[in-house]
């Protein structure tokens, strides 16, 4: 396990480095001169040159990248072009809201997806199974931002029972915070839950065909025991991988959903910064999202190997 983990972690390091390089290259590729943008429209050429030197833009590109990356690893992303506030401060202000939203959404998606998937599989080819399957297929087709907009329309505009957007302090006023979280979490979790439900159903049916399940039944275990003790734990291993992939997708989807609900998280910070051409913030948020995505996949792989010894053996070859 130790050897596998070390190898797997080593393999993801170059991916982090190259994605950081790609994200950093935005600065070089975007139209316009960052020094000119930072100095403002009224700056004299001398002032622009001074800013360029201060930003290190007169140095070779690889050196610029190296400096940026080393500082980024320490959590220093420089200052925002627009507000002049340190980028790390902007991120620190926005990160908790995104974490709340994403964690709760993953939890809801996992619970709804796995429970409905197992339920459908144990009643395969029944009306309930058919209903869940069609429901999941339809849910996959509904875009999260339209589901969110519909939610606002029904629960905020027409019924007036939930707030249309924004957030509240989870620890100060938990009830109000949950009211603010309800619609964004559902909008974000619906599609992953549907994907997970379909996958869980297939995985459970797959395991149910295995001989050990026959054996369990033959030795007289009650059906619920066969399901909870033998089928579900074995099906959970591949389900975990799909959950991780969906979690990663959710980070990207949060960018859109946060905008729908004016949710003060990293996603809306990213969109605002792109529209405002605040590239130091764009780089930082993009890097954080990609690193989080790589990290989630890494953790999923390690967990997968921990649960299924066959994977570890496979990589050794």
């Amino acid at each position: 396990m130790l050897k596998y983990s070390a190898l797997r972690i080593l393999k993801s390091l170059p991916v982090v480095l190259i994605s950081a390089f790609v994200v950093f290259s935005i600065m070089l590729l975007v139209p316009g001169d960052p020094a000119l943008m930072r100095a403002g429209p009224d700056a004299t050429p001398v002032e622009v040159a001074a800013v360029r030197q201060e930003m290190g833009l007169d140095r070779p590109f690889v050196e610029q990248f190296g400096r940026w990356f080393v500082l980024a690893v320490r959590g220093d992303f420089g200052k925002s072009f627009v507000s002049r506030v340190p980028v790390s401060e902007l991120i620190a202000n926005r990160l908790p809201a995104t974490l709340q939203l994403a964690t709760l959404a993953v939890f809801v998606a996992a619970l709804a997806g796995i429970v409905s998937g197992v339920f459908a599989a144990t009643r395969a080819r029944s009306r309930a199974d058919w209903g869940i399957s069609v429901g999941a297929a339809v849910t996959i087709g509904i875009p999260d931002f339209w589901l969110g907009t519909l939610g606002i329309l029904v629960f905020a505009v027409w019924l007036g029972v939930l707030p249309p957007g924004g957030n509240a302090d989870l620890f100060g006023d938990p009830l109000l915070a949950l009211q603010h979280l309800a619609l964004p979490v559902i909008a974000l979790a619906a599609r992953p839950a549907a994907v997970l439900s379909r996958f869980t159903r297939a995985a459970v049916l797959d395991v149910a065909r295995e001989e050990m399940v026959w054996t369990a039944r033959a030795k007289g275990l009650p059906e619920w025991r066969v399901i909870t003790r033998h089928i579900v734990p074995n099906a959970l291993i591949p389900i975990l991988t799909v959950l991780a992939v969906q979690f990663g997708q959710m980070l990207a989807a949060a960018v859109v959903v946060e905008t729908v609900f004016a949710w003060p998280g990293l996603g809306s910070l990213l969109v605002g910064s792109i529209l405002g051409r605040d590239y130091s913030v764009v780089q930082a948020v993009m890097l954080m999202l990609v690193v989080a995505f790589i990290l989630i996949n890494l953790i999923a792989d390690l967990l997968y190997a921990r649960l299924d010894p066959r994977i570890r053996a496979g990589l050794g070859k």
């Binding site: 991916v15 297929a137 996959i140 875009p143 329309l153 990213l270 969109v271 790589i294």
Partner: protein, 287 residues
């Protein structure tokens, strides 16, 4: 050519014989017809601004009402199907062609070609698809063409991986080994044996990519980073409707409903294709 025509016809017949395929196929066909004949179907010019009729609720003249510029919502919803189909097909066909070619070469020759191609694929897949598209839009600027190309690039590694996996399997079969032994030209083996036999997972993946790309396009347009006004796009219409949820809810309902219906049709269609072509686990679950 005749062979392809008759096998496509057989394919369509099998799709419509499948219960989910019938629903999905009909929905997708409906949008294709709308996109092709929209100048005949749309009651108004989608860009025509009628200052006397701003934010009119649905009535007999404007079936789905008008927006804040007095443009007819029904006409814009119908025209937007063109943008969706262009983006979906470009991403699928362009990304598919490049990806399949790369996967074919990587799987057949293996060695450094394979290593290089798969590392590059890993790199692109290290980013969630929407972020790849966002990166391209930041650098190249928004618009129909940029978004289509960006989504094609995001989908290329998926096609490459699937093709490579199929080629690795098929390459071991006796008839391919025999063809290699006979000294058949490499290009002929690739076309005749490998490409034909890995067509099924590629077709299913292509249908999935159309849906994923339409979804991503509408998401980007919703953020204001995709298709730009005055071109009609469902995502863009939803973005513009945000300020009018209280006064003009029809602005959000109509494009969202059309978009969802099209995507649901594509999900049903790709489910049916997966069943019919029996590809199982080869195709990656919804990226």
């Amino acid at each position: 050519m005749n062979g392809i025509a008759s096998s496509s016809l057989l394919m369509i017949r099998r799709i419509f014989a499948h219960p989910m395929g019938r629903v999905g196929g009909s929905i997708v066909l409906f949008f294709l017809v709308v996109a092709l004949f929209v100048p005949l179907l749309a009651p108004f010019d989608p860009a025509f601004q009628d200052a006397d009729n701003e934010l009119v609720p649905p009535d007999l003249t404007h079936w789905l009402g008008t927006d804040q510029f007095g443009r007819d919502v029904l006409s814009r919803v119908l025209y937007a199907s063109q943008a969706a189909i262009i983006v979906g097909c470009t991403a699928s066909i362009l990304g598919g062609s490049v990806g399949v070619l790369v996967g074919l070469l990587a799987g057949y020759f293996q060695s450094w070609v394979d290593t290089l191609a798969m590392r590059a694929a890993d790199m692109i897949l290290a980013f969630p698809g929407l972020l790849v598209a966002l990166l391209f839009v930041i650098v190249l600027g928004p618009g129909l063409l940029t978004v289509s190309v960006a989504l094609a690039i995001a989908s290329t590694p998926i096609f490459a991986r699937i093709t490579r996996a199929s080629v690795l399997q098929i390459k071991q079969r006796e008839y391919v080994l025999a063809a290699i032994q006979f000294g058949s030209p490499t290009g002929w083996i690739m076309r005749q044996h490998l490409l034909r036999n890995c067509a099924s997972p590629i077709i299913v993946q292509a249908s999935l990519i159309i849906g994923i790309s339409v979804l991503a396009e509408s998401g980007l347009s919703f953020l204001g980073l995709g298709i730009q006004p005055p071109t009609a796009s469902w995502g863009l219409m939803l973005n513009e409707s945000r300020g009018f949820l209280y006064d003009a809810p029809w602005l959000a309902l109509a494009p969202g409903f059309a978009l969802s219906l099209f995507l649901i049709g594509l999900v049903f269609l790709s489910d049916a294709l997966r069943d019919i072509l029996d590809v199982g686990d080869l195709v990656e679950a919804g990226r």
